[in-house]
């Protein structure tokens, strides 16, 4: 069962993502900000990361940059959940090592479809 780390400081979004992915049969661990996520990702291996961008303590892009530098996360898909329609957040995220992004608002089906594609 693929294991996913869901990172968002907003508990409603986090719960929604987590609930949806669990419903689709994935194993989900939640984190409340980039720092929390980084700690969790280092202590266990995830197959995919879904992270919010704007978060306190450590934002999603910094988190991705840090995690991508870890040897066992070199090829792991990392998706940003972002409301930013502006291209700069996306390219900033890409430069930090993000695989891609899912634009908020999204519905649970869109989320699952995207993740299924990425995980194959």
């Amino acid at each position: 069962m693929p294991k996913i780390l869901a990172v968002d400081d907003s508990s409603s979004m986090r719960q929604m993502v987590s609930f949806t992915l669990k419903g689709a049969g994935y194993d989900v661990v939640e984190a409340v900000d980039g720092q929390d996520a980084l700690t969790k990702a280092k202590s266990q291996q995830f197959d995919l990361i879904v992270t919010d961008v704007n978060m306190p303590v450590m934002d999603g892009i910094t988190f991705i940059r840090n995690l991508r530098a870890e040897a066992n996360y070199k090829f792991t898909p990392m998706l940003m959940l972002t409301t930013e329609s502006a291209a700069d957040k996306k390219s900033e995220g890409k430069a930090a090592g993000a695989t891609g992004w899912i634009v908020k608002p999204f519905n649970p089906d869109q989320l699952i479809n995207t993740i299924k594609k990425v995980l194959g």
Binding site: D9, S10, S11, S12, M13, Q15, M16, F19, T20, G23, A24, D52, N54, M55, P56, R68, K74, F75, T76, P77, M78, L81, T83, S85, A86, A87, S91, K94, G97, A98, T99, G100, W101, V103, K104, P105, F106, N107, P108, D109, I112, K117, V118, G120
Partner: protein
């Protein structure tokens, strides 16, 4: 699968309201002109979360509204826009609107769309003013040329896989769209000794057949458009056309933005009203205390019942011990239960920073609000009821107390005035002080006004305290002009009345030119009262201890009978009306027939003394107040009832009510 998003709504509402509080506090703390970008970012983040959540959970109106706020905040954060007072004010108003919208969604009621629209226009106006990048991009139509297929040359950069993007995933995705033919180009594959396993050396020549739009294909490559070379050529009727080499230009994903909030939530119309039962958040430590206490009580009870089963006189000491313990534990339990209803007064104070900010800018005054003792705990009911009187007093200080900046400078004061809001416990009461360093009470003006209004006879000599007290008289206002802030003369008397009805008192100290302090004293709770029990005939009554000044025996020589006005007696220099409880409550077997036989309990209400004539005093005790209205009906002169140790019921006297009754009689 479908997920019911409604289950996340409550969490969304809660965190959104928290977010709004963060925005409000943050906005108020912003330094105009020189705002710290991290401060703005905190506000931005809160707005951003609300926008993301509301869009996801189906509150499109809120998402659209927040989007405009967010755009403004974004420009401030990037330094593209100055933090002006105008913008901050407008954002604060927007926070209010957003709160209203969230409340409406929560109650499933209709928001005031005019207000929303108006505020939205205001924000857009501010955005448009400096030509900020407010433009909400409409979804780009994109090219939708239909062809029979595409010829795709896909050349990933060597490091594409290092962002987690697998070229095979992309090809698999394409394969789902139509018939696919893939030729792999291995030309760039280096010698094995130079091959890095992390790099991608392959490229692909793909023929994809089917009725597929260019946008759909670009969507597949969306995440990697900067990490590969992509050539798309449409195939028309199997003849390859060399034209239209579309090297992937950035087809930015645009957020679809529905046309403004106006009608967004109207469809949510529903008669269903939220029946939010009032609840209270209690710290786990308080609950634990309670459980401990109950445990102790159970132990004491079992000890006592053991003693009772086989009692002999030699166990008397143990019994007394046990009873002593029982009393102690019961008292502790009572205190713990009361603690549950206690909340920090910050619940009431929290609205003031915004109030002071808004009103001072409206009036052109400069005011600092300093709050202390916010963690002082007070009964929840009292918190709810003290809110309005407090607002009135703070408004009063703002409006009548603090002077205009120019006047302050002329008076040799700091340009910025200060209002202090302070709360603390003192001797079983909670004390709330509102202090300002404004102009204080002009006692001559107050006295003249009182004489003019006929509240005080001309030429009367009043002490400073008595003059200050006049402002609590009904219909009294010295403000030269009525502002919409205060000064309609319906204020201070109502404030005093409300506070008195809570069993509290309000006083003012003031020095002309230096400022004023209003002091509110409140009981900690409305559930328990310190009382003096008195007996009249066979009836026992409870007089609230706070109202009692003294109890005296009187001599007939001190009594005056005034025709039509009842009895008075002279206590020191004052004539005080006497109220015989036996007459008020129609008790015929009162023991004290003449005034010399009984006792006179001197009580005070609304600063007016009065003598209550009773047979005798019994003891002082704490009594638990039971509502008469809930169990019977309202009775004049009685504020409630309590159950005494022997199981009988005693009425608790409502002293101000009793005095009003006696005046009528």
């Amino acid at each position: 699968m479908s997920v019911d998003l409604e289950q996340f709504h409550q969490v969304f509402f809660e965190e959104s309201f928290e977010g709004l509080d963060i925005m409000e506090t943050g906005l108020m703390e912003l330094d105009l002109g020189a705002a710290n970008s991290e401060d703005i970012n905190t506000i931005f983040r809160a707005a951003h979360s609300i926008k993301g959540g509301s869009g996801t959970f189906g509150f499109q109106g809120i998402a659209n509204f927040t989007h405009v706020m967010e755009t403004l905040l974004d420009e401030m954060r990037d330094g593209r826009r100055q933090v002006t007072r105008e913008a901050v004010d407008s954002l604060l108003k927007s926070v209010d609107i957003l709160r209203m919208m969230l409340n409406c969604e929560q109650d499933k009621s209709n928001p005031d769309t005019d207000k929303i629209q108006q505020q939205m226009s205001e924000l857009e106006f501010i955005l448009g003013e400096s030509g900020g990048a407010a433009a909400i991009q409409a979804a780009s139509a994109g090219s939708s040329s239909e062809t029979t297929g595409w010829h795709i040359i896909f050349e990933p950069d060597a490091n594409m896989m290092l962002t987690g993007n697998d070229p095979l995933r992309i090809i698999r995705e394409l394969a789902e769209m139509g018939d696919i033919e893939v030729k792999t180009n291995q030309q760039k594959l280096p010698a094995f000794s130079e091959l890095s396993p992390e790099n991608c050396y392959l490229s692909w020549d793909i023929t994809l057949r089917g009725n597929i739009t260019e946008d759909a294909i670009k969507d597949v490559f969306l995440w990697v458009e900067d990490e590969c070379k992509l050539t798309l050529t449409p195939i028309v009727d199997t003849s390859v056309q060399p034209a239209a080499e579309a090297t992937s230009a950035a087809p930015a994903v645009t957020e679809s933005v529905a046309p403004v909030a106006a009608t967004a939530s109207d469809s949510k119309k529903s008669t269903q009203s939220s029946s939010a039962t009032s609840s209270i958040r209690v710290g786990i430590d308080k609950i634990d205390d309670l459980i401990n206490m109950v445990g102790e009580l159970v132990i004491t009870q079992s000890m006592l019942s053991l003693l009772g089963e086989d009692f002999s006189m030699q166990n008397l000491e143990k019994l007394q011990d046990g009873l002593g313990q029982l009393e102690r534990h019961t008292r502790e339990l009572q205190e713990s239960v009361m603690m549950i209803r206690m909340l920090p007064i910050s619940f009431s104070f929290s609205r003031f920073p915004r109030l002071v900010r808004d009103m001072s800018s409206q009036m052109g005054k400069k005011i600092d609000l300093i709050m202390s003792g916010e963690n002082t705990e007070i009964d929840k009911t009292l918190i709810e009821k003290i809110g309005d009187p407090l607002v009135h007093l703070v408004r009063n200080s703002l409006d009548h107390g603090i002077e205009m900046p120019a006047d302050r400078i002329a008076a040799g004061k700091k340009e910025t005035g200060t209002i202090n809001l302070n709360a603390y416990h003192k001797g079983g009461n909670i004390v709330i002080e509102i202090t300002d360093d404004g102009k204080g009470i002009d006692q001559d003006a107050v006295l003249n006004k009182a004489i003019e209004k006929g509240l005080v006879p001309a030429g009367a000599k009043l002490t400073a305290q008595q003059i200050n007290d006049l402002i609590f008289q009904p219909g009294f206002s010295t403000a030269k002009k009525i502002t919409d802030v205060s000064g309609r003369g319906v204020g201070m008397d109502v404030v005093r009345k409300n506070i008195t009805s809570l069993g509290g008192a309000v006083e003012i100290q003031s020095e002309h030119g230096k400022g004023s302090t209003f002091t509110i004293r409140l009981p900690l709770t409305l559930a328990i009262l310190d009382g003096q029990s008195v007996i009249v005939g066979n009836e026992i009554y409870i007089i609230p201890l706070v109202s009692i000044v003294e109890s005296i025996q009187i001599k007939t020589s001190m009594i005056n009978k005034v025709a039509g006005k009842g009895e008075t007696f002279k206590l020191r220099d004052e004539y005080i009306p006497i109220v015989r409880l036996s007459r008020v409550f129609g008790i015929e077997n009162a023991k004290a027939k003449t005034l010399e036989d009984g006792l006179l309990v001197v009580v005070e209400a609304d600063r007016k003394p009065c003598g209550l004539f009773v047979d005798d005093l019994l003891g002082q005790q704490q009594v638990v107040i039971k509502s008469l209205e809930q169990n019977y009906r309202r009775v004049d002169g009685v504020s409630g009832a309590t159950i005494l140790g022997d199981g009988s019921v005693a009425l608790i006297l409502d002293i101000p009510g009793l005095l009003r009754m006696s005046v009528r009689h």
